[in-house]
């Protein structure tokens, strides 16, 4: 039975985890540190009534949206500039890969100094996390085009723009959307890291507040909401990726 309906067992596993959490919170752990899930879920309404919370969630969503749009636009532009010319690619692609591999968290304090403690620093940090996967996949996508297609389009008298529009662009679409998915994970990481580091009105402010005032119920509720938000955003980009890669098959 388990073999044919894995999702039933999956739901059961999740239910068991919640059950263990409930038991631990009710009988084993100090209520200052852990709230049972039943109370967390029941108090989600209260959480939304907390002054500032809806605005903080909206602000974080806004930061994510702006950072994602910028990361995709900048990543696409840089990726095309680097990917289309072999010499430029050979010169600058290794530098991009090197920067991509760097632990960016070390320069987070610099972003705060440069952009302040408001939304700008979160957006900037999200962009630097999201832009590199987009560049890398766009460069890879441009390279995937078979040279023979380029040569034949050229020989049939296509202009540079026409070659890009009708040959390179359609070939790039699948990898571009894969890049957008990776870019979304990067943007989520960057924005949330910056929020948790320092924040005056975003969700980072409230996670710090709830931690310091030992309110696990509201802290768990808020973190759970954010995790749900991350899952939904990831799922949206993944859906778009599947949708736009269809023409190939």
């Amino acid at each position: 039975m388990v073999g044919r309906r894995p999702w039933v067992a999956r739901v059961a596993v999740i239910a068991v985890m919640f059950g263990l959490w409930e038991i631990a919170a009710r009988f084993l752990v100090d209520p200052l540190f852990l709230s049972p899930p039943s109370i967390v879920i029941a108090s989600l309404g209260d959480l939304f009534d907390t002054p500032g919370i809806p605005a903080a969630l909206a602000l974080t969503l806004f930061e994510l949206a702006v950072a994602f749009a910028l990361a995709v636009a900048i990543g696409l532009a840089l990726g095309l500039v680097i990917g289309l010319q072999p010499l430029v690619r050979k010169s600058f692609f290794p530098i991009v890969l090197l920067l991509y591999g760097m632990p960016q968290i070390t320069i987070l304090p610099l972003f705060i100094l440069a952009f302040g403690i408001g939304a700008a620093s979160k957006i900037a940090f999200g962009v630097t996390h999201g832009v590199f996967p987009v560049i890398v996949t766009v460069v890879a996508g441009v390279q995937n085009v078979k040279p023979i297609l380029l040569v034949s389009a050229r020989s049939m008298g296509a202009s540079r723009w026409q070659v890009f529009r009708h040959v390179i662009f359609p070939h790039m679409v699948p990898s571009f959307f894969a890049g957008m998915r990776l870019g979304m994970s990067g943007v989520l990481l960057g924005v949330l890291l910056a929020e948790l580091y320092v924040s005056i009105a975003g969700i980072g402010y409230f996670t710090t507040l709830f931690t310091q005032s030992f309110e696990p119920t509201r802290l768990f509720g808020l973190v759970g909401l954010l995790a749900a938000m991350a899952i939904v955003l990831n799922a949206m980009v993944r859906r778009a990726e599947v949708e736009f890669a269809k023409w190939r098959t």
Binding site: V2, G3, P6, A9, R10, V13, I14, F33, L34, P86, L87, K90, S91, F92, P94, I95, G101, M102, P103, I105, T106, I107, L108, P109, L110, I112, L113, A114, S185, L188, L189, L192, L193, L196, Y197, T207, T208, F210, T211, F214, P216, L219, F220, V223, L226, A227, A230, I231, N234
Partner: protein, 257 residues
């Protein structure tokens, strides 16, 4: 052919030159911006001052305590992640049904930025090393368990049948068929687990802690000692790059054998 090879060679040289020019140009621009154009010293300290500070950090050995803290946390976190990830992954990979249940669950959790839960870890384990070890182990666990399941779970069934037919015991099957087939995939998981654990430990030290490499950067930032902070950032990035290079080399070596 010869002409093509020569052109290829010339392009390799040209790109090296462009790279060198780009880096030198960037440093020059940084120098001019910080000395001539009057860019605020709090944003961009003089590169020479950064260099002096870097030498001073290396010679004075002030980094040793922080480095020991971070490496200690990393060793503890990675050990926990490896032990739990490989054990659980192996057990799950023994049954198709278990794999169908758990693989998507782990993949779903892996897609969430787990650093989100840092406030919960801090609430639980405090600001000290315990919360860093816990979050590093949690974040490092997922790539390891996912790759262990993939490694042991997708061994070519023909090999297993053949080994069984030739009379292999459970031990022999594991030692000579399953382990060698799964090893490359598991090694990749271990490398990813190591890298992400290192990253999240330095990250959580930056966000909320009392000691460690990440914490020291924040201290310098709050003291507005920019040149020293830049130098320390360079130092930490060099440490991370070295560790990652060592792990990648070990992975490549493990794959060959």
């Amino acid at each position: 052919m010869a002409g093509q090879a020569r052109r290829h060679n010339r392009m390799a040289w040209a790109s090296r030159l462009i790279q060198a020019g780009f880096v030198i140009g960037l440093v020059l621009l940084w120098y001019i911006a910080s000395t001539r154009w009057g860019v605020n010293r709090l944003l961009l300290p003089n590169p020479l001052a950064v260099y002096d500070n870097l030498l001073d950090i290396l010679w004075s050995g002030e980094f040793i305590d922080d480095l020991a803290t971070t490496l200690g946390e990393l060793v503890a976190a990675f050990s926990i992640a490896v032990a739990t990830g490989i054990t659980l992954g192996y057990l799950i990979s023994r049954s198709r049904a278990m794999m169908a249940v758990f693989e998507p669950l782990f993949a779903a959790v892996y897609a969430i930025p787990i650093i989100l839960f840092l406030p919960l870890f801090v609430l639980f384990f405090g600001l000290g090393p315990a919360s860093k070890i816990a979050i590093g182990a949690t974040i490092g666990f997922f790539p390891i368990v996912i790759n262990t399941i993939a490694g042991f779970g997708h061994v070519e069934p023909l090999y297993v049948t053949a080994a069984r037919a030739m009379g292999a015991s459970d031990y022999h099957l594991f030692r000579h068929v399953l382990a060698p087939a799964a090893l490359p995939v598991i090694l990749t998981g271990l490398r990813m687990g190591f890298t992400t654990a290192l990253l999240s430990i330095i990250g959580s030290e930056t966000l909320a802690s009392l000691a460690g490499l990440g914490h020291h950067i924040v201290q310098l930032a709050e003291a507005m000692e920019m040149a020293r902070m830049f130098a320390y950032i360079v130092f930490v990035i060099a440490i991370a790059a070295t560790l990652n290079a060592v792990v990648s080399a070990l992975e490549a070596r493990g794959r060959r054998n």
